[in-house]
Chain length 150, copies 2
């Protein structure tokens, strides 16, 4: 396995742990970690229910948290790992923050930013998809199946 | 003048006062107020410099603030007044929050959500543009002219 792939899977597992935390709180299980020079500088999970704020997506919370931690508006040296493909809001937030790289797990066929035929990300942002895709998708389908079964 | 137009201009003036506050703090002067049943429930201005967070747009701060104030994820009964056409991030944030109506002043030909040939807003969100357009545009052009002149 390539070194980059190993590193990506390692950090995606950390993002999955965040998604797990979201699930435990009754939130749609999406998790994020932001990594700068191989160190996690922010982690967050979806908190739209807990905060009663529909914009409290894991990516938004993590971007603000990373900016605070690094005391920098821009996150050019950072990689954002997220278990689900970001929506347009979060993808555009990454553009404003000039996130260096985005790595996501599961594809979001409904709300994912790549459903739109347009450039949303910053031109310098690299993007990798499908890292631990199965696990990232499973935690979501499992959550919604349980919810429907209630 | 129609009653709605009068009301819109009244609240846009409040949003302009927020933009003025932004300018005084060296921020790109964009201001927002969110109104629910004719009462302002949130006001905010762009704080990307002050907070060193590129996602700290006036709309994002105001939406979170209104959700907190009303203790509601959704802002269906709210009108968001903003001096500048929202970007994709903020327009999508309004979609997630199901903002009832958006009223904006100046058009943003570079980053405005209406530059994209797609439905970003919630299907039930009404949108009015061009309210106090001249004043909303002037505060921005004036800010950038001063900045260039430095």
């Amino acid at each position: 396995m390539l070194e980059t792939q190993k590193i990506d899977e390692y950090f995606m597992r950390q993002a999955l742990m965040q998604a797990q935390l979201a699930e435990e709180n009754g939130e749609v299980p999406v998790g994020v970690v932001i990594v700068c020079k191989k160190v996690i500088v922010a982690k967050a999970h979806n908190q739209t229910e807990q905060l009663r704020d529909a914009t409290a997506h894991a990516e938004m919370i993590a971007i603000t948290s990373a900016a605070n931690h690094l005391n920098s508006k821009y996150l050019k040296d950072c990689t954002l790992y997220v278990t689900l493909e970001p929506c347009l809001m979060c993808a555009t937030a990454s553009m404003w923050s000039q996130v260096g790289r985005i790595v996501y797990g599961a594809t979001d066929l409904q709300r994912g930013f790549q459903n739109y035929d347009m450039e949303v990300l910053h031109p310098k942002t690299l993007c990798t998809s499908g890292v631990l895709e199965g696990e990232c998708a499973h935690i979501l389908t499992n959550f919604f199946q349980k919810k429907r079964g209630k």
